[in-house]
Symmetry: C2
Subunit: 81 residues, 2 copies
């Protein structure tokens, strides 16, 4: 099993990295762009995971303790067989 | 319209950030983890985009010129209405 985790800044939290990307794209001539946000994509192989519910719980705990900052970030976990 | 871009290191390219995350998770007591890889998630609002094919082409060009390094990274674009 594999866990796919998306970590995004919460709406309203300033995203300087996203702003820099948006500025660079405008500088390259791409016009008409709205907001740009950058998040993280983390993929974890879980070779020993057999039970889906247990794996989901474990990955959620990982997000809460290390992968996402609960003050500024939201996360979403998806398990892929 | 909104573009959702996933940028990942190509398979086989060393991912020190992913390795660091894997090491930190092991240190926190999460056992039995396989490979950990970290990628980028970029979301771009395209308020003026009307034509889907045109928007896809434009975002693909952005990836090739700025958002992904074609030597080391793969990207995937998804358009959301």
């Amino acid at each position: 099993m594999k866990a796919r985790i998306e970590v995004r800044l919460k709406p309203g939290i300033l995203d300087p990295q996203g702003k820099a990307i948006g500025g660079a794209l405008s500088g390259l001539g791409y016009a008409g762009l709205g907001e740009v946000r950058q998040g993280k994509l983390i993929e974890i192989d879980l070779p020993d995971a057999a039970d889906r519910a247990e794996a989901a719980q474990k990955v959620e705990a990982m997000c809460k303790t290390l992968l996402a900052n609960p003050v500024t970030e939201d996360f979403r976990v998806e398990l892929i067989d």
